[in-house]
Amino acid sequence: MKGHVTTTWPQIFADPHLTRHCVVGSPFDRTTGLNELTAGDCVKTTTVTSNNALNELLFVCLTALVVISLSGVMITVRLRTEQKVSLERHQISVFEELGVADQGVFNDLYAAALEIIEAHETDEDEWIAVKQLESDYISPFVHDLAWKKRGRISWHKKNLNSETKHTVLYMGKPSVRGGTGSFLLVCLHEHRKAGAQTREKEHAPFEIWYHKSTDVDLPQFFSDQLLITGGWKEVVAYKGEDEVIRLKGKEYL
């Protein structure tokens, strides 16, 4: 907005050396009210210049640039790549790939595996019998409503114990088609002598394998390759720690 004073009469001119304005001619002025002044009087005046539109635009752009740059830096600093559970070709994800009924059997079997291992560690290295699991109300072995709805899976157990390694297989296949696929729980427990070294790959305490077919046989011995060749897939759970990493990053684990 312009801030200069317009005078028609008397004329005011600037004295460049004294930075003051002096009046010449008649003392009457309609706009400035300088009618009290007479020729030769001088007044100090200040010229108010406005911020022009270009400056304002530059200021806004600069501020926006600073905000965007800061946000970019913050995003880069706090960026976390989403962790995905990477699967091998012989594995399937229970969370992504199995149906609700199969998920149910898997989760029951997963919890049962913890109990079977717990019992093996406390009860003189024995693996619990299927009948015992059933009478202890341990799902998916117990014959309850869920068992009926998931195709009445029948379970068989096979001990594969050696001197140094205790292994047990529990295989379940549905009696009724259309419910679920077949499941194989493999529990492994090493009995190494103190100081003994082995080159064998370390196994998790248990693994769960899945076969789409209901017509499968209980394997006579256990090896990953044998199961893979036979069409079994190792089931990988999406676990609590995977979700914590996805939500919070590894720093909180």
Binding site: Y110, D136, S139, G240
Partner: protein
């Protein structure tokens, strides 16, 4: 002052005799010093209390009257967390406040965090309007997923307090057996139901693990996202979906009074039943069992009713 040779020997013998006493005293102090284990949610109080018995102290991080979904940390929480030896938390939902308290008290990285769901197999929320799979964090509303958590917590506590490993193991096994037996009791009541096609809707997407115990699944969830109320158009769509899917019962939450639930009931005529989210009320050792029992009772009754109704048709 001169000390005679005999006097020096006597002093040494006296000091040596005192050492075992000192060691014993230190051991006794260690044995008496109980771990202070913090917990974020009600079920974790019950789990931990049943595992540790009187061998450790269980400290709820927030008071009884607060809703963990919307809890904002208080200054007193910061003081409380600095005095804990470990903190048991869900970590995948419901206890976001714990991370805020840890940050505010600068205790992040200084206190062992026991994620109850570590090693627990998670499932997606079913019955939603979208194809996107979202993790269901309600692992504590079930028997099977709780058993996994109890074993996990027991293992972690044994690492922190090895002197009590045997006690923790024994207590955890007894607690797990009790939970399994409780579930078996309800399952027995349902053993005669044949060809039951049970369909239920839930207001809150928190009951997938519970339904999974019974070989069932949620048909429709009414909340569009965790804790959000549906808009008018979403509600209209949900009502249509419930009617199309022939839903037998709608489960809402205890202590959740909302007009839209009345609207659904009025528009569909379907019976409303109540389930508990298990994250309110008094902190107690038996709280989880009581709450879960009430949930199983509600579900069992709904299943028997649905079965009788379908037989009459």
């Amino acid at each position: 002052m001169r000390i005679s040779k005999a006097g020096l020997i006597l002093l040494m013998v006296g000091l040596l005799a005192g050492v075992p006493g000192l060691v014993k005293g230190k051991q006794a102090f260690a044995a008496e010093k109980k771990l202070r284990i913090g917990i974020t949610l009600h079920p974790y109080f019950s789990y931990v209390k049943n595992i540790v018995g009187d061998r450790a102290e269980v400290v709820p991080l927030i008071g009884e009257g607060f809703n963990p979904h919307a809890y904002k940390p208080q200054p007193a929480d910061i003081k409380k967390v600095t005095k804990l030896d470990a903190l048991v938390l869900n970590g995948i939902g419901h206890d976001e406040f714990a991370f805020e308290i840890l940050e505010a008290s600068k205790m992040k990285g200084k206190i062992p965090l026991i994620y109850a769901n570590e090693g627990v197999s998670l499932i997606p929320v079913t019955g939603t309007d979208t194809d996107r799979k979202t993790v269901n964090p309600h692992t504590f509303i079930s028997v099977t997923a709780s058993i996994q958590q109890i074993y996990n917590i027991r293992k972690k506590l044994s690492q922190l307090d090895p002197a009590n490993t045997k006690v923790y193991r024994k207590n955890a096994s007894a607690y797990v057996r009790r939970l399994r037996k409780m579930k078996a009791g309800y399952m027995k009541r349902l053993s005669d139901l044949k060809n039951l096609d049970f369909r239920c809707a839930t207001i809150h997407g928190g009951y997938d693990y519970l339904l999974q115990e019974f070989g069932l699944q949620v048909t429709a969830v009414i909340e569009p996202a965790h804790g959000l109320k549906p808009t008018a158009s979403q509600l209209a769509r949900t009502i249509d979906r419930i009617l199309q899917l022939n839903v037998d019962v709608i489960f809402t939450e205890m202590n959740l009074a909302d007009k839209y639930i009345d609207t659904i009931q009025k528009e569909t005529g379907i019976r409303i039943r109540y389930l508990s989210h298990l994250t309110t009320g008094e902190y107690s050792a038996e709280g989880f069992e009581k709450g879960l029992k009430a949930n199983m009772e509600a579900l069992t009754t709904a299943l028997i009713e649905a079965h009788d109704r379908s037989n009459k048709k």
